[in-house]
Symmetry: C2
Subunit: 302 residues, 2 copies
């Protein structure tokens, strides 16, 4: 597994996902911006806007390299004097649908390599429904459980908990959505899982390939449902929470912005419109109040 | 100068500012929420919404106390074992007007005291016009220069530069607006300024009292100007930048959210609606492009 092969597989993943999303959307087309990173490499940012289903979304591919940033050294507990190069490649996706009946989704797969020989995979998929439907949440988690189980018996439960902990807004005491899976620092031949680099790669690609069928299914079963203006307003408030998570708590976003990543690609995750209302509390017995009750860690959706 | 006197003066300032804003707005009325802090003290959060001029804004007073949070110890380079209590009081304001012709404004005055006897004042006022008008920017800075000069000959230039540095979005290479003044850690009898605690208090109260006449003047001269839908859309994008600054870079917001402050009071600074458009670049020769050119550090507005 050379880094070039991994990057190539991620590029293919980006192509496949964009095709599948365009097909299900039926109207929106991705536009592409190619860009270069200040320290080497670059990416292909793809944006879809004003589709039938997808109001704004991005599918980013990047493969960048250069000297390791001091912030990363300190995050990894490496001495600041260390001179290391890194290589990082990944695909990152966020989709904001027009309808509050269709959930927001996020997916990321990534591979990281240092010039000292260390390397690891990371990634995950998580779902943020504006209104939580328990059967859809169960479907989503079953699909993730299936892909995890094909590779390691312990992955789903460990990565499901990791997602609950990661996609959490402490200042709201809410999860971002119904979670999913999140994993990081998966190193080849580590005693925790015993998987080779090839086996980890296969897992990560399998996760990537799970995205399109799962999300296009969720688009298909929800896209024709009608909604009210009040439901659209609720969507804007939930998108406000999405903005709060991404800008205040998401380590990937913060790291990218603080180390000179391409701002427009990083902030493609933000919604086209978000609203904030002071101290908004939905009335008991409404779908909004039911949703808030389900934005908690530790729910076994399967 | 006892801490109770300072808190009382800030409470009065909050009352005076709310009255002046209601009067100029002509329709919006502040609603008040009283709240208690988990470690002691509390606050009066006042919110105005759907006024003639002010779409959403908050004027917060708080006076809280308790054991010093570990994060503050590390920010202040104090050993983590130190057992200290703090007392903090302040007034904090953000106003989002309905019209893109009226600027967003932010004001803060604060006093901080530790049980080891250390104390300091901080604060500032800064303006974020959706469209920069040079004559209004000059007026705003002249007023700030005047209040500074009444107390110390070096304050305006030092605090103006401090605001340029503080209200800056590195990931956009833009200032938040046209700046203003920002100051922190003003300690009594410090060699940098030689002012007593009373003299610093007088300065800070004078800054607080400058807010209402300056902002109501800016409301008055801009509120009846018409605007287009395109200008309203530009306002939503600029509000997006305001959100980015507050959630990614503002140390006060981050500190509050990470140490269990009252979320709804802290995030009252967020606009009612903000938009994001991928890689939006205004055409050359437009008012939008002119505004972007003036969102730079180091402009001498006076």
């Amino acid at each position: 597994m050379q880094k070039e092969q991994i990057a190539e597989a991620f590029r293919t993943l980006q192509d496949d996902i964009c095709s599948a999303l365009e097909k299900e959307d039926g109207k929106g087309k991705f536009r592409e911006d190619r860009w270069e990173h200040h320290s080497g490499g670059g990416g292909r940012t793809r944006l879809i806007q004003d589709g039938n289903v997808l109001e704004k979304g991005g599918v980013n591919f990047s493969a960048v390299q250069g000297p390791v940033h001091p912030r990363l050294l300190s995050q990894m507990n490496l001495p600041q004097g260390e001179f290391l190069d890194f290589f990082a490649t990944g695909v990152s996706i966020v989709m904001h649908p027009a309808s509050p009946q269709v959930p927001i989704i996020h997916m990321n797969v990534r591979y990281f390599e240092l010039s000292n020989g260390t390397c690891w995979f990371g990634g995950g998929i998580d779902l943020t429904p504006h209104y939580v439907a328990e059967d859809q949440a169960a479907y989503f988690h079953r699909e993730l459980q299936a892909v995890c189980s094909r590779h390691h018996p312990g992955f789903y439960s460990r990565f499901k908990n990791w997602a609950d902990d990661y996609f959490f807004l402490p200042h709201r005491n809410e999860t971002r959505g119904i979670g999913g899976i999140f994993f990081d620092y998966l190193k080849p031949d580590h005693e925790e899982h015993g998987l080779s680099k090839q086996a980890l790669f296969d897992f990560v690609i399998d996760v990537g390939n799970t995205f399109a069928p799962v999300y296009t299914h969720l688009m298909a079963i929800n896209k024709n449902k009608s909604y009210t203006e009040a439901e659209k307003n609720w969507q804007y408030l939930r998108r406000g929470r999405y903005v709060e998570f991404n800008l205040v708590w998401d380590r990937g976003t913060k790291f990218g912005l603080e180390t000179g990543g391409r701002t427009e690609s990083i902030l493609m995750s933000l919604p086209p419109q978000a609203n904030w209302a002071y101290d908004f509390r939905p009335e008991e017995g409404t779908r909004e109040a039911d949703t808030l009750r389900m934005l908690k860690k530790g729910i076994e959706w399967v």
